[in-house]
Point group: C2
Chain length 79, copies 2
């Protein structure tokens, strides 16, 4: 079973990578870009067969390792 | 309008970050993790009002700046 995790900085946390992209897009002539946020996506192939169990397992991985929950939020989806 | 871009390394391209995560999950006691791939997710707030036009514009951003299309593939979705 494949799970996809999105990890984004929480609203209000400064995102210098996103700001750098926004600025670079402006320099390249792309107009109308109001804001850019960059995050991580992690795809995990796990052995679990039950969807709810897989989701719970991946959420535990996020809490333990993948996300810094002080400044980042995560969402888990099963593909 | 908000667009979300996923940028992942193409299949066959070595992903040391993903491997590091897989190894760390094993060390933490998570079993049954067969594979991990890490990529980037970029959320872009753009002024376009037409969905198809927005998608095309963001695809151009990917080609010009966001993705290294030699080793990375991208997908664009409008939220």
């Amino acid at each position: 079973m494949k799970a996809r995790v999105h990890i984004m900085l929480k609203a209000g946390v400064l995102d210098p990578q996103g700001e750098a992209i926004r600025h670079a897009l402006g320099t390249l002539g792309f107009e109308g870009v109001a804001g850019v946020r960059q995050g991580k996506v992690i795809e995990i192939e796990i052995a679990a067969t039950d969807e709810d169990a897989a989701k719970a397992e991946v959420a535990r991985m996020c809490e333990a390792l993948l996300a810094n929950t002080v400044i980042e939020s995560y969402t888990v989806e099963i593909l």
